[in-house]
Structure formats: structure tokens, C-alpha cells
């Protein structure tokens, strides 16, 4: 079998190089194929213009923007700071809590607000639970990309349990609007801590089940190992982040290296890809990093649940939020997909003068052409799936 990753781009055959048995010359031009915008494995509305030579990918040109909702325009013209939070929810709709966290941290940094310890603890718990929920979607749908349907159902069963926890806290199951500037919309319900602990106990053995079912499955390994290798230096040059960067063997996690909230109070380890079944930085490595990150997230949630203090869930904040004119802040956090940053500029009015969302999926997607060249066309589905894009965040 030809290992597709080892084929150089120069594999492109010259026109007229192939002859049939009767001596006729075959036309071997490059062909352009569109994948998407309505293709099941693009995980949304993404169009990939693929230049192929036979089955070998010569180039991939992503066309994005089908889901553009003018997030920045809305925020700068029609909202005040608190009203931005529901919009932020809708960026990465698989991990709304993490989006909220990034935005409120940026706003609080500008306003110099300190929030009570209980708030910080609850924020960490919610962000980590949402990270698990988001990774479960990523892993489940990645299984579908590789042709395994069952893990998807298992993943969604477990994700439901996390969504139940969110629902009992803030009433919403997908778009929470839970973290507010200076605090939270609601305190935890009385039974939350107990139920969350139950979930952690239940979930830990499930990770092993997923690994047995999908990660170390012979077919899955064959499809993903050596496929879409992202070298370390390219990953850094393209500012990839999250599992994409760590899968390439870079030991970098903003929760540890640029700590925010209370992440420096918990013990956990950054997971990196080691190329156990293939090359460092291949699709399988990105997958295994997500699996192992879920274990670490459970660890953080358990520690936070054990030591969560009593107290208020709203800091004293001004009724109308107006940061000083000229104040600006760029705050970056580790969302499930990588570095999610918000750059805010204030002009002293109630709405942000400039808001820019640095979304991890947008940046991670930009490296896709680099890692797809020379791969087989059937592998593109696996490569694009391993980037784990959420188009709501790519297009904003």
C-alpha cells in the first residue's frame, strides 16, 4: 500500500505520460472538485476547492463566510457590553461557556473588576465541563468521518448528561448566557455539586470505553495514522492552537502558560501528541490529545468541586458599563479548540468601539492547505475532521 503522506507534491503526472495498452495517450490534467458547502464531512457550511491529480491532492483552497453573521458589526453598533454575551455564545456553539469566559475576562480586565472566588471556581467548572462536551462532539463526529457511527451515539449520550447539568444551572442547554461581567447569572442549584461529582465518577471509565471502541480500533488507526501530518514549526508559524498545536508535540497550553481565572490552583498535565501509532502531528495524535484532555478536565472539575467556597456570585459593578476612553485589552484563553482571544477597544461609551474575536477554528483552518497537499482525496475528510472546526466560529 502506498502511504499517501509520503507522496511528494511532484507526484503529479505529466500530461501524456500515461499510455493505454493500445498505445493511446490518456489526458491527465488536473481537475478541480468542490467539496461542500453542503457536504456532511465539512461539519457545517465550508467549501473546499480541491485541485486533484488523479486521487492526489495538489492544493486545497478553503472558501469560508457562508455563515458570516456580522458579529463584530453587531457588537460595535447595536449592543452594550452585557448584550454582547449572547452573541459571543453563538460563535462556537459547541463551547458557549468557554466563549463567555473569554469575553467577560476581557471586559473585566478593561474595567479592572475582581470577581469573588466562588465565581472563579464555578467558571472553571463550567468551562471544563463544556470542554468535555465539546470534545465529545469532536470525537463523535470524527468517528463518523472515519465510518464509525456507534461512538457518536455513545458520545452524545454522555454529552446529554453534561447538558443536563448546565440546564439545571441556567436553564439553557446550548447557548447559556451564564457568565456575566462581574459574575454569573445564577448561583449553582443545591444539588449541582453532588450531581457533578456523580458525573465525574461515571465518566472516567467511559473514556476507556471510547478508547477501546474508537481510538485503538484497527481501522481507525489505519485511516488516521500518518495522515495530515502537521510539523511543529509549521504549527507555530501558522499560530495553530489547542489540540492542533499540542498534537504536533508542542507543550503549550494557555491555562498553564498564560494563566487566567483560577487555573493555576489546580493540578493537571498538558497532553501532547507523541506519534504513538504514526508520525508526530498526524490526525491520530490530534484525536488522542482530545481524549486525554477530557481526563485532565475531569481532574480539574473534581478538584474544583471539592474545594468550591461559599459566597456571592456577583461582584459590585457599575450599572452601566463604560470602560475608560482609549482602554484596550486583548485577553486570550484556552477554549476547546485553542486560543480564543478577544480584543476590545473602548471609546468611553456603553458599546465596544472595536471588538475582534480571534477564533481558534479560523486560524487552525488556515493551515489545512499546508497539511493536505500530497494526501489522498479520501483522506481529506479525515484531515479536515481532525482540525475540529466549528463554522460558527470560523465565519463569525
Amino acid at each position: 500500500m502506498i502511504e499517501s503522506h509520503s507522496l511528494p507534491t511532484s507526484y503529479v503526472t505529466q500530461p501524456g505520460a500515461i499510455k493505454t495498452s493500445s498505445g493511446k495517450t490518456l489526458r491527465t490534467d488536473e481537475m478541480i472538485i468542490n467539496m461542500g458547502p453542503q457536504h456532511p464531512s465539512t461539519h457545517g457550511v465550508l467549501r473546499l476547492e480541491i485541485v486533484v491529480d488523479g486521487e492526489i491532492i495538489v492544493d486545497v483552497i478553503p472558501h469560508i463566510g457562508y455563515l458570516h453573521r456580522c458579529f463584530e458589526k453587531h457588537c460595535e453598533h447595536m449592543t452594550n457590553y452585557q448584550q454582547v454575551i449572547p452573541y459571543v455564545d453563538r460563535l462556537d456553539y459547541c463551547a458557549s461557556m468557554n466563549n463567555d469566559l473569554a469575553f467577560v475576562l476581557a471586559a473585566e480586565r478593561m474595567l479592572k473588576i475582581e470577581v469573588p472566588p466562588r465565581v472563579e471556581y464555578i467558571r472553571v467548572i463550567m468551562a471544563e465541563l463544556n470542554r468535555i462536551a465539546s470534545h465529545l462532539i469532536a470525537i463523535g463526529t470524527y468517528g463518523i468521518d472515519a465510518g464509525a457511527f456507534t461512538p457518536f451515539l455513545y458520545c452524545f449520550t454522555d454529552r446529554e448528561k453534561i447538558l443536563d447539568l448546565f440546564e439545571m444551572t441556567c436553564g439553557a442547554r446550548l447557548l447559556y448566557n451564564y457568565m456575566w461581567i462581574g459574575g454569573l447569572s445564577h448561583d449553582l442549584p443545591p444539588t449541582f455539586v453532588e450531581q457533578a461529582k456523580e458525573f465525574c465518577t461515571y465518566f472516567k471509565p467511559r473514556i476507556k470505553a471510547f478508547n477501546d471502541l474508537l481510538t485503538y480500533n484497527e481501522i481507525f488507526v489505519k485511516r488516521t495514522a500518518h495522515v495530515g501530518v502537521l510539523p511543529k514549526d509549521v504549527a507555530i508559524n501558522y499560530a495553530s492552537s489547542g489540540p492542533m498545536l499540542r498534537g504536533s508535540g508542542v507543550n503549550w497550553d494557555l491555562r498553564r502558560d498564560d494563566p487566567y481565572s483560577y487555573y493555576d490552583r489546580f493540578e493537571w498535565e498538558v497532553q501532547v501528541g507523541k506519534g504513538e501509532v504514526g508520525t508526530v502531528g498526524d490526525s491520530w495524535d490530534r484525536h488522542i490529545v482530545r481524549m486525554r484532555e477530557m481526563e485532565q478536565s475531569v481532574k480539574i472539575v473534581e478538584q474544583a468541586l471539592a474545594s468550591i467556597p461559599e459566597g456571592n456570585v456577583q461582584a459590585a459593578i457599575p450599572k452601566r458599563i463604560r470602560p475608560d476612553a482609549g482602554a484596550e485589552a486583548y485577553v486570550r484563553t484556552e477554549s476547546p479548540r485553542g486560543e480564543l482571544g478577544f480584543y476590545l477597544i473602548s471609546d468611553g461609551s456603553a458599546s465596544p468601539y472595536r471588538i475582534k474575536a480571534r477564533s481558534p477554528a479560523f486560524v487552525n483552518l488556515s493551515v489545512l492547505p499546508e497539511i493536505s497537499r500530497g494526501a489522498m482525496i479520501a483522506d481529506l475528510v479525515l484531515i479536515a475532521g481532525s482540525v475540529d472546526i466549528v463554522l460558527g466560529e470560523v465565519d463569525r
Binding site: N237, Y330, R332, Y343, R358, V363, V367
Partner: protein, 158 residues
């Protein structure tokens, strides 16, 4: 390195291209000349003591006084220091040197800034619109942008 040291290193190497700086704010920034961003960024990336290998973010800004700006948030994974670079250009001639050669990630960020603000990045390999349709007119995040009434002959409900 502290922002002060970074500023001194830059000033001693690029004297007149360093136009302005503010170090006593939340996130210290340095403003550089828009026609020399590329060489300064190469220097920031490759100099051993600086090694800004990671460009977090590139944002376009409309300052609403006839000037557009580009803001670069740089970080070093090795030294773990950060700096903010800024550069200005006028609305009439919005030209800034592209840094897509320095950091691959700048490619898409610059396309987005071009899309939203109309900033032309000189030397960019493929400066097309990023998020809006290719036939869109105008640059919506400019503060003087007027929402169009028609798009391709269709009335835009507003």
C-alpha cells in the same frame, strides 16, 4: 524581556521607524511605520532574545479620524513575553506592508482586515475577501460605512 527592553532594542535597530509607544498601559504597545512592518517583524521573529514566534492576532481598526490601523498581538513561546505592535495608515491611501511571509497565520488575518476595513497589504500573496461575498461593495467595519439598500438588485431588509 520587559516591554522597555523590547522598545530599546527596536529603537536602536530601527530608530526612525519607531514612531510612538506607550508602556504604562494594561498592554504596552509600540507604533511602527507602516512601510517597514515586514523587516521589523522579521527582526522580532528571528532575533534570539526576542523570538516572537507566535502571532496571536492581527486586527484592523478604524480610529474615525481619517486613519486606519493594524494591531499585531505578538507572543513568544520560548521567552513567554508579549508585545503589541500598531501601525497607522490613512483612509485615502490605506497601504501597509504585509507580514504574511513572517507568520503564515497573518495571511488569513490580513485578508480579513482587507475585507472589513479595505486596508491593502502590500506584498500579500493572495489578497481577496475573506468572509464577505467576492462581489460585495465597501468595507463594513469602517465607521463611515453605509448599509447598502440593494445587494445584486435584491432589496436588503433592514
Amino acid at each position: 524581556m520587559t516591554p522597555q527592553e523590547i522598545l530599546e532594542t527596536l529603537s536602536s535597530n530601527f530608530g526612525d521607524a519607531i514612531l510612538e509607544s506607550k508602556l504604562d498601559v494594561l498592554q504596552p504597545w509600540i507604533r511602527i511605520a507602516s512601510h517597514r512592518t515586514k523587516e521589523i517583524c522579521f527582526f522580532l521573529r528571528d532575533e534570539d532574545l526576542l523570538t516572537f514566534d507566535y502571532m496571536s492576532c492581527l486586527s484592523g481598526v478604524d480610529y474615525n479620524d481619517g486613519k486606519l490601523g493594524v494591531v499585531y498581538h505578538l507572543a513568544s513561546m520560548i521567552h513567554k513575553h508579549k508585545i503589541v505592535l500598531k501601525t497607522h495608515c490613512t483612509k485615502d491611501s490605506p497601504h501597509v506592508q504585509s507580514v504574511a511571509e513572517v507568520w503564515g497565520t497573518a495571511n488569513w488575518h490580513e485578508r480579513e482586515a482587507y475585507d472589513m476595513y479595505g486596508i491593502v497589504f502590500d506584498g500579500h500573496p493572495d489578497l481577496r475577501r475573506m468572509l464577505l461575498p467576492y462581489d460585495w461593495e465597501g468595507h463594513p467595519l469602517r465607521k463611515d460605512y453605509k448599509v447598502p439598500e440593494f445587494y445584486n438588485g435584491m432589496k436588503v431588509p433592514y
